[in-house]
Amino acid sequence: MLTMQVQNVPWLVIVITLPLVGSLLCFLLPQQAKKLGLMTAFTIAASLIGLLFQVLDQGAQRYTVGGWDAPLGINLYVDGLSLLLLLMTALVGLGISVYATAYFNRDKTVYYWPLWLLLWSALNALFLSADLFNLYVCLELLGLSAVALVAIAGGADALGAAIRYLLVSLLGSLFYLLGVALIYHSVASVDIIIVAERIDATPPILAAMGLMSAGLLFKTALFPMHFWLPPAHANAPAPVSALLSALVVKASFYILLRLWLDVFPLPQEVLGQFLGLLGAAAVIWGGVQALRQTRLKMLIAYSTVAQIGYLFIAFPLATSIAWKGALYLLLSHALAKSAMFMAAGNILHFGGHDTILKLDRVAQRLPLTVAAFSLAGVSIMGLPPSGGFIGKWLLLNAALQAGEWWWALVLIGGGLLSAGYIFKVVGFAFTQTEASHEVHHVPAAMQWTAFMMALAAILVGLIAPWPLALMDIGLPFEMVVNKGSNG
């Protein structure tokens, strides 16, 4: 009986509205913001578990809001891919929430929680949207709340980065919107399924595809349009950096992936190779730049640039294994990167600076943080046993099976570069220097959250069959053959 009841609850809607409500409450009751925020985080996680059970039992779900079906109303759709990303968001979001309760002081807390929950809601909605305009709305909301969160830190660096981020976000979304408009003009609908059926390779559609892709690539910070990411991610407060690197960039990637799989007429071999090429360049460039950095958070931000490049290597390969590999990398990167930024936040809080060369004074006194950073680093490097290794393995497999061995070389080269910059930092944990005098105590919540996130990144590598099976629900990677045939 209970399971029956659980199955019938519209978890899709709950998952979107719960954070919205929470955000509103936090805004209205600033004194209770911390407690409310944390409670909301836990309830969102719980409702996602409900959604998980529902999808496991009943397969991919489609929900029509208000009973009005497309092309008039809004549809929500969840399949394995969306579910995976939702779960990832929930897990990382939970960790970030716990971390943020200990991180922010009184005044900043008031700003943080409403914005963070708004962002979470936009993220959830984005993963569940089934039409293009809805995606635009969520994307815009996401961008705006992210910009606001970056600006919380205050100070010239943060504000400058936030303004740049704002301009980038608006530009990207603008391009995307233009594309949607063009598509709507040609196809008379924005629902993904309907668009996929009616789409044709006419010039307006092609232009739309170009615009949308360019905009989304801009927002995903693919090389060479990544310049805005490092300052934004490095100058934001630690929990914000974590959620930016782990979740926000992935959202635009998700949209691009959906478009690629469901909407764009195939085949796209040249485009795929082009994207792969940009991805490879991102891997190399990001890795090399990360090696050069003197500040820890900048290093981690450039590492994000490199890891995003990995994701695009799946495009030229375009097999189910390749997509799964990219998504596994995405998942483990989210966990590992959030752990890294949290660790960096701890170090910053402890010593007041994050200059890498002076890290040794700090690292000795924070073994848990260093352990978190190292474990996260293991996943970023793609060493077993970690989620990063699983993703790397799958991509390598796909590359060698397709006979395109140069992507394999890029993957390996990226791994070596990441080993370089990870161990550059970790090496400082083992020196003989005395600890510095001015230290601020780091709350246990912050240290343990970072560690748990990193541990999750490792554990995700040991349970690989389950997420992989999860991704297959709803067969998102089966590219429909008869796309673009009828009008």
Partner: protein
Amino acid sequence: MSLDSVFPLFILATSLVPGLIIFFLPESAVRTRISLNMGGALIKVFLVGIVIWGVFNGHHYETRLPFLPGLDLVLRIGALSILFVTLSTGLWLVTTVYAIGYLEDSPHRSRFFGFFSLCVTATIGIALAGNLITFLLFYELLTLATYPLIVHRGTEEARHAGRTYLVYTIMGGALLLIGTVWLYGITGSLEFVHRGFVSAIVDTHRSSLIIIFVLLIAGLGVKAALLPFHGWLPQAMVAPAPVSALLHAVAVVKAGAFGIVRVVHDVYGVEVAVSLGVTLPLAVLAAVTIIYGSVRALFQDDLKRRLAFSTVSQVSYITLGIAVAGPIATIGGLVHLVHQGVMKITLFFCAGNLAETLGIHKISEMNGVGRRMPWTMAAFTIGAFGMIGAPPLAGFVSKWYLGLGALDAGQDWVIFVLAGSSLLNAAYFLPVLHAAWFKEPVGQWPHEHIFGRMETAWALLLPPVFTAFLSVALGLFASVPFSPLEWARFVTSLEFAP
């Protein structure tokens, strides 16, 4: 889930669980730490004993966990695994005792012993791996677990050595990964099978198989200190003596050599490898490494560096034995895996004793040490003579089989390599012995610790004496049933077609 299928996990857990617990212990919890360490080591010895008895009685121990689509994580206890597992377990126990004595009152002991246990876990995992992906997993884990041990002291030198180590081993790991993925792509399986699993596709994928072999051997050769990947080993000598002992006798180099054995026998199969023509270049490379390591060892004044180059040379004996690809030579290579481990660990323990008790790091400071520390130097003498190959020590047995195997397989040039190497071994070990026993000490010892009436602490003295005794026993009683020699014979009989 029968007991048989969980047993390998138990063996892993006996070092993993204490290690993880030790990480969280405060520095002052000395007794807890010691009891965890020793307890884990003793239980593991006990478990390995049970397993050997079980295998002898026909039990089949295998753990299978789903890991990747189409690939499982497999831990299997077969004949070859037992050889390496026994070596690792026994020597871990001895090294734990030594490390407890060596690091008394050092900082960061919890961290050290935590990573120490992880290192052993990784080694046992490598020994028990039942397919190439499990092997790869534990191989990389070994890299990650040994790095903190090398940089433990925290000096600039140690960090530099650690960096060099990482560069080499991570690149080696990358090569191994590419080789593995490629192999999986063309064969669809990575399970270790007696006499290899690639024979079906030899004709169609000849060049791919050759390149994969090169990649795999290059990746493994980094840890096995094959030329030109041996550069990290002498630099890693800045680590504390228990780490050098562990690295050079048990964990890292042997893991690399063991991997080469696995690749040649259980992935490719000897006949396939010979038909691909890859064994002769490997044998030549091993031979060059043997001579090169010995020559470099002649010029070193630092004792541990000399021993490091000696290791570079000696581990390649194993590779040479495997690459000569005859049954007797394979026996020689496999048995040398065990014998060299025992002898080398003796030498490193003694070097550590000299450093700890008298502050001696260089050979030029070793004049007359034999009078001050007779038991240590006696153990060192036995180890050194074993390396030279004097009968009836363990080294003689393995050199005998290697030489005989080479003659048997028609590779007569190997005899010259072995002879030259023995000469060089004598040239760099005998002066050390001569200086220690027959020369007069020059002034004061650099930095002396008095340990009461004994020449040095109990925990520092017992391990080298024990392993020296073991070297003699392994040589003298080599033909006893259940000796490493007989076990190596058994393993070889499985790998070669009757």
